[in-house]
Subunit: 294 residues, 2 copies
């Protein structure tokens, strides 16, 4: 058997189209234009690429996009003042501070200053707490993307055995909460787990989010399982070039799994699309409108 | 084999003694008397019993105990004003609002009004979020008690396979976070999980927190496993009396497990003792002192 390859690029573009259609609707019916403010501190090239991509996709979805670029040596109080201004700005429904921040800034203090209602990255403790408590919350974008990709294969995740490998704040831990909300039975494994291959082999749904190239091997996968690979690792390749690989040994897993995400072209495609979803959701919630159908 | 019975009463009394010793120390070294304020709304008899027990144990530990009793028809604003006063009061380091509240009050609004630094019940979204994020936090008392009871059997939980049956905000979900912090591999199961007996039979540590009398049977338990029973269910008994049973079929599990908590006399004993731990921790944190050794 060869697994079905889950096309993250296609699913993300369909999701963006649904967001754009909903944006048209809330503009028409409610006179509301969702707005996303992205704050970039310094000039890290990778961060600049991400911010440009967010800017472009936000505009393509019909939303307002606000970009704020501050010098790397900005005073923490000045950044906090900008966030306070964005918190008050009625045209802004989502605020994203691009991470990582320069070391002179205290990331936790900055994140905590964002109005939780506008925290479209889902990183404020209040959102993490609401998510952990099973309440409606803005959830981090990458785990949200993982759920949407899984649901492109399984209409319902109820009662399925899922394993999440990796317990980071950005992916593993919130993903566990989202899977619980979908009524999956969830095991969370990590570097201290014993006999990971055996744990993994029991799972109908495998989420690899450890940042170790090709760690999850083909013989760890239960035949027919769905494999979602969150890892993006850059390895040296021929002629001084590099190549991207995930946390799953793709070719091996492809021969065993029922469905699998590629790297690149899988989870990575979903993150910005889910940011747009969160911005739309935040805008509707702030205006007391029903949650959008995306 | 007959399991060792984990003596919650003894472990709780040892814990209270350690708290009392630390209270003596911080009084002497730092002139600090930890203080707990308990707010009771209405006159529910069970809540009155709990509040009295907390009051007594707080005083026995050498802490200041403040009791506030409000009528069942108190206005929400008046309750919020009391909480604001307790938030400001430097003699108060822990604030506990006894639940459940009368239906006229909005529980989430009340809990959210408590200063997270004084939220010794660990219910504020900020504490739930910090716990879910793997940061230092005040955690709910019952899950904390479960961990302490487990550690009376296992010096380290690293790499052990744990199953938490039940995903409530008060017990199951925070317990998962605490077990992750102890480096256990954690599976969280619930009413929608398939083949629960088989999932359970793989676990070195079993936590039953579903509120279904004797649901977990002896043949679900891996020989030698440690079983922590969070359930407290009251069943009719002979001559119009009632008896307490847990979520585990105790006699059956006793014959298979390595160690097991009884009901009563197990987890239930730990909750107030852990409230004292949290109050002491909160007092030290508020005063910038190192975490107490309890």
């Amino acid at each position: 058997m060869t697994a079905r390859i889950i096309d993250g690029k296609l699913i993300a573009s369909e999701l963006r189209a649904r967001v754009a259609a909903e944006v048209v609707r809330v503009k028409r019916e409610n006179g509301l234009t969702p707005g996303l403010a992205v704050v970039l501190v310094g000039s890290d090239p990778a961060s600049q690429v991400y911010v440009r991509s967010k800017h472009k996709q936000t505009q393509e979805a019909g939303m307002a996009s606000f970009e704020h670029v501050l010098p790397a040596d900005v005073a923490q109080d000045d950044l906090l003042a900008l966030i306070a201004k964005l918190n008050r700005d009625p045209a802004v429904h989502g605020i994203l501070v691009q991470l990582p921040l320069p070391k002179s800034l205290h990331t936790e203090t900055i994140i905590n200053a964002i109005d939780p209602a506008k925290d479209v990255d889902g990183l404020h403790p209040s959102n993490a707490g609401r998510l952990a408590g099973g309440f409606a919350a803005l959830s981090p974008c990458t785990p949200l993307g993982c759920i949407i990709l899984t649901k492109s294969v399984h209409a319902s995740l109820a009662g399925l055995n899922a394993i999440v490998i990796g317990r980071s704040n950005l992916v593993g831990r919130p993903l566990v909460q989202l899977l619980l909300n979908e009524n999956a039975t969830v095991t969370i494994a990590h570097s201290r787990s014993r006999d990971l291959p055996k744990l993994c082999a029991r799972a109908d749904l495998v989420y690899a989010a450890v940042g170790k190239p090709e760690m999850v091997r083909g013989d760890w996968i239960k035949p027919g399982a769905t494999v979602i690979d969150v890892g993006i690792n850059r390895l040296p390749a021929l002629e001084g070039k590099t190549r991207l690989v995930g946390d799953v040994a793709f070719a091996e897993a492809l021969a065993v799994a029922g469905a699998i995400t590629p790297v690149p072209g899988g989870v990575g495609q979903m993150t910005v699309a889910c940011l747009l979803v969160n911005t739309l959701r935040a805008a509707c919630a702030i205006h007391g409108l029903p949650a959008p159908a995306v």
